[in-house]
Structure formats: C-alpha cells, structure tokens
Amino acid sequence: MSTDLTKLIGRIVKAPENFLGEGELEEARKARRGFMGKALAMGAGVASAALAAGARAADGEDAILTLPEHSKTLGQPVAALGYGMPSKWEKNVQRRDSPGLTRVPQSSVSFTPLQGLFGMITPSGLHFERHHQGWHDIDPSRHRLMVNGLVRQERVFTMDDLMRLPSVSRIHFIECGANTGAEWGNVALPTVQYTHGMLSCSEYTGVLLSTLLEMCGYDKKKGKYVLAEGADGSSMTRTISIERALDDVMVAWAMNGEMLRPENGYPLRLVVPGVQGVSWVKYLRRIEVGDQRYDTKDETIHYIDLMPDGLHRQYTSVQECKSVITTPSGGQTLLDKGYYNITGLAWSGRGKVKRVDVSVDGGRNWRSARLESPTLSKALTRFNIDWVWDGSAAIIQSRAIDETGFVQPKLNQLRAVRGTKSIYHNNAIQSWKISANGEVSNVQVS
C-alpha cells in the first residue's frame, strides 16, 4: 500500500490497520498523532473530547464508540411541528435564483436543486418558481373559475364546485420553455440547478378540462382553441388547441397530496402535460373557447424561438425528449476514485421515455442505463448506471430516447437547425467534465 497516509487522516475508511504491515502501522500511528496534535492546537475547549476520541480511534470509529446524545436522551414529542420540515442538515438544498438574471425578483425564476434530489417526484417546497408579476396567497373561498366564449352556457365554478367533480390524479413533469436557454451559444452556468432546474415533477389532482368543457356545452364545430387566463396581476394568458384541451389537460388544485403551494398557483392551476410551463397558467380564473389563436404577449413577444433567418417560430410548446445527469454534475467534487452510481433524469413531452444511454468518454461509446419504475408518459424518469472512476479526466453525457423513437439531439445538431440565438427549447445532450482533481464542470463538446 503506497498511499500517502497523511492524506487518509480524517476520512472514513475500513480500519486500515487490518491491511498494514508493522512498519506501515507505525507510520499510520505517527500520522494520527500529528493530526491529533493539530486538533489540540486549534482549540483547547475540545481537547479532552478529541483526546478521548483519539484514544479510541485505534479500536474503531468515534461515531460508533462514543454514543451520541440522541441515543441517550429523550427525543421530541409528536406534532412538535404541525407541518413537518426537512432536517436542519439539509439547508444547502434550496431553490435559488441566478445572480444577475433579472433585476426584479417578482419577475424572475428560482431553480429546483436537481443535484440534491432523488427519484422522480420534486418535493413541493423545491418546485421551481417562475413569476411574471409576483405571487399571491389567494383566499380559495373567493376564487372563481369562469368558462366563457363559444359555449352553450357560460358558467362560474367555486372551489367547492370544482372539488366535488370527478377528479383524476396523474404524475407529470413541468419544464419551462426557457430551461437550459442560457446555454444556446456557450456554457453560461455552473450547476445542473441553474442549467436544468426549471424542471419539476409532481402528482397533480384535479378535474379534466374536457369535463368542464362538456358541462358548459362547448361548440364542437367552431371551438378550435381555448384561452387560459390567470387571476394575478400579470393575468397570464396562453392559447391551447381544443385537441389538447380535450385530451389530458387538467384543472388542478392539488400537488403531491396537498393543495398547490401559493408559489405554484394556489388554489387552481392548469396542467398541460408535455407542454412548456408557461401554458400551465397559475391562479387560473378563466377558460375561453374561441375559433382563433389569441396571440397573447407570452406567445407573440416571449416564448417564441428565433431562427437563423430572423423569423421567430410561434406556438412552439411541446417539450421534446431530454435528459441530464444530476450526479455527478457541474459544481460537484468527487470524494475519491472508485465506484459511482451515475444518476439522472429523462423526460419527453411526447410520451414515455423508452431508453437512456450514458457515455463516460464524451460521446464515443454508450451503455444503456437502468430505468427506475414507474416510467410514465410525460413524467420524469429516473435512470442509474454503474461507473468506476479511474481518476483520469472524463466527460459524461446522457442521451434519452422516447417511445416515438426520437433520440435526444447533440448540441451541434440542434444548432444546425435552430442556430444559437434562440432562448427556448434547448434539449441538447448535456456534457459534464470530471477533472483529475475530482471537480465536475459544465462543458460543451463538439
């Protein structure tokens, strides 16, 4: 064993003494004495504890040999927190805004910390936020939904009415059309939270929009589109085709078993599976049936894709097949050489994810990852794959394929068609570089 033992001090390793010869053992002891000496010098207050720990270190690990307080004392009572909170040790896992992205926090974005999440469901408190004119906590007893336009009967529903209707519960992802939008031209952001964090996945409960449209007697001949409108200051509006409206669109009040959070549209929002987040109108107050598209601000000035010829594509809304590795990912640093479970997320606005491939050599060779169940239509799918890092520089990528057979494109394939000036719908393969020093960084490869 030729490892520099001074570097092992303080690490959790399998009792190294078991693998050392006489000479090496003495070296290890010296090194540990050196470590303890430093600890003593740093703080006299912890000296006795450190000494005790040091004395025991030869027998095993202090975390085991010194019984912790929680093993020897009475814990907290039930209902100490009426609504539970994450552990105090999890404070680093937070929604964050991107410095300098916007000048006013009411018209801004906070990103989901994908690097810290597991499975396919996003905890409601970590769901990304996109507000156009600030958020409100609306009194649900005074909230109304109106359905008007090309309907036999223009109607108003209270929350009581809506929540009495036959409901469905479905798991879907929501991704902002501008997710990864800063990376069209070059690398701009350090971590997966900022590059891909306008992405969340929740179980929604609500009534199908088709149920409401039928109740109001929508005009089956002339009704080609619906307009969804919010009740907040921005009163966001988006056009949705009647085919989509009658398909799987939901008027939802619940998310992950509880009511929607205010930041996500309490008490009512539209859920438009597979479609960019801007169409999932929050604080939903009105649905209008019409015979033309509405050309609203967020489908005429924003959420339009600038093409190389200077034309903007309008009414792009499906979030195409995409994936990203969340660990190891940008801004992280690996603990050591050896085994890692590469893990990430894949999704498609056109249906189920069929397969995810992972490359650890910058896209030359690929292996198929394990997909965790369930793999649902228009929902996040978690993938995992084994990898042993040999300590040399590596570039890791993931590539998703959906049930239509569409293969997630490389960045240069995307740029070849759409140029580099768009903001929206960047679903390119993401590359993370792992340097020999263990740090992971965001890179683009060609």
Partner: protein, 356 residues
Amino acid sequence: MKKHTYAILLAAAAFACLAQPAAAQDKPWHALGRTATPAEVAAWDIDVRGDFKGLPKGQGSVSKGEQVWEGKCASCHGTFAESNEVFTPLVGGTTPDDIKSGRVAALAKGGVPQRTTLMKLSKVSTLWDYVNRAMPWNAPKTLSTDEVYAVVAYILNLGGVVPEDFTLSDKNIAEVQEKLPNRNGLKRFDGMWETKGKPDTANVACMKNCAPDPVIGSFLPDFARNAHGNLAEQNRLIGAARGADTTRPAPVALEAGAAKKPAPAAKARPDVADAKQLLATNSCTACHAVSNKILGPAFRDVAAKYKDKDKAESYLVTKMKGGSSGVWGTMPMPAQGQLNDADAKVIAQWLMAGAK
C-alpha cells in the same frame, strides 16, 4: 328493494330525463356550477385577439400617452422606452425599411445589443392587451381604456410607427397593424405545437465508436468560478459528492478526503424583514442601488442629503408611499402603495443610518 318502490323510482327517473338535459342522466355532476351573469363575463373577459375581437371602443393621442408614460411607465422603462435597467427595452432596433417590409432586418443580421419588444411584436393587439391587463407593473389593470390607447400610441410613436400628432383608436388600429415593423416576422411551427408533430432535429442512437475524441468548445472561465455563490453551500453534506468550494481556486490534484471536510452550511435567510430585504421585495433595487445612480439616486446619496434634517424619517416615508418627482432630476418615482408604514419606516431608518 320491494317491487313497487322500484317502479316508482323508475318512473321518477323517466320524469327526470324529460325535465333535465340528457347529459345529467349519466353525468350526475353536470348541475355543479352556475350560469355566469353578463356583468361577470364583461368584468373578466378582457382579452383582445389579433382580429381585435374584444377591443373596447376608445382613443388616445401620442401626447396624452406621453403624460401617462412620464407618470406611470418611465420609471421602469425609461423616458423613451429604451431603458434596459429594469426590463428588456421596448423600443429600438427597427428601421423605416422594416416598417415597409414587415420584417425586422436586425433579427437576422444581429448587431443589436438586445431584442426589443417592438422588434418582435407582430400584432398590435398583443401590445394593447398586455398594457391593459398587466401594466403598470406595480398597479396592474388601473389604466383607463383611453389611457391604454394613449400609451400604446406613445410607444408606437417612439418606434416611428405613427407620427407625433397621431391619435390611436378602435377605428384606425387595424391600419396601424399594417405598419408594425415585424408584422411578417413570425411563423407557426406545428412540429412543436402538436404532441404528434414532426420534430425538426434528429440524432441516431449509436453505441460504439460513434464520434472522434471530443473537443471542448466552451467552458466556464476561472473568474466565473464563484459567480453563483459558493457551490459547496449548494450541495448536500453527505453522499457521493460534495459541492466544490468555489471561494478558493480549484485544487491541482485529487485530494482524496478533502471533500469530506465539514462544508459550510447555507446561510439561513433572515427571519425578520430587514431594510435590504424590503428593498428587494418591493423592487426598490430595480431603480436604486446602494452606492451608484441607476434610474433613481443611490441610497447613499439619499442618506447623505437627509442626514441631519429634521423629520427626515417621516418625510422619506411619505415620499416612498406617495411617490416623488423633481427632487433628483426629471425621472419621477411612482407611489409605492403596497408598502406599509412599518416597512417604510424600517427603510427610512436604514437610510438615516447611512444606508450601510
């Protein structure tokens, strides 16, 4: 169930069928909700479509628009709607040739610092609808119909679309539509509108020896290492990886175990509203910075000016809540009606203490 009861129920059901729409029979929830009154529909159905369906009658001149603009819009958007201090500029980047062709040439050529609203706008109805539903920024839906016409006219005048003496109305808005610089600049792409639309990109799922050695074309420069804060504080303290400590240069080699040193925990957000938090949540920082002038004066300059003045605290509270103009230049500060007295006092006291 006894036979005769059953018969009565059947009869009742038959009667119900006659009395109610057929749908109620198999969809018993169909009675939920109620008919909307005409006044209710009118109150909420405010959208204006590309064919001007929904546009209320009214009119507003460029000069009236300028008045409204100075009082309610310029503080965010700049006097000439050109400011990029708070939002993306509204006006700029279009030419008389664009007005002729209906295509903004700069969108293809580039060379403009930012894509303005007028460069992208293809429907004048969009501008009218949005100003009407969402502006002004901190008091949406408070402009009168004629004020909306006037503000739209002013913006269009700044963009050279209508002359200075123009009055925009429901009668002539369709003619104005035919002059928008980017009216022909949008195209629909059904490939990403329909779930079953045809994609415009393609890749193949090659598995072996697919590409030559990758060449890194773009990466974050060293000076940006800490631009998003210390990434060590943005990752969990246990697990397969840690966040890199971006307050220090990257290590030269793998320091096995170095990552396991106790990483700093994220700073908890303050529980009590302090002045700086209030400045952010009330969007004061959109126009003011601590030590330099943006649209409004620097907080330090305000602090210096009122340092030794009597009743400065109550004066500043009044100015914040009621708005102000003429003290620091021509740009007026809109009233911050959302600010309560207690919060305004916290900010005023912070200013009086030197804005530190």
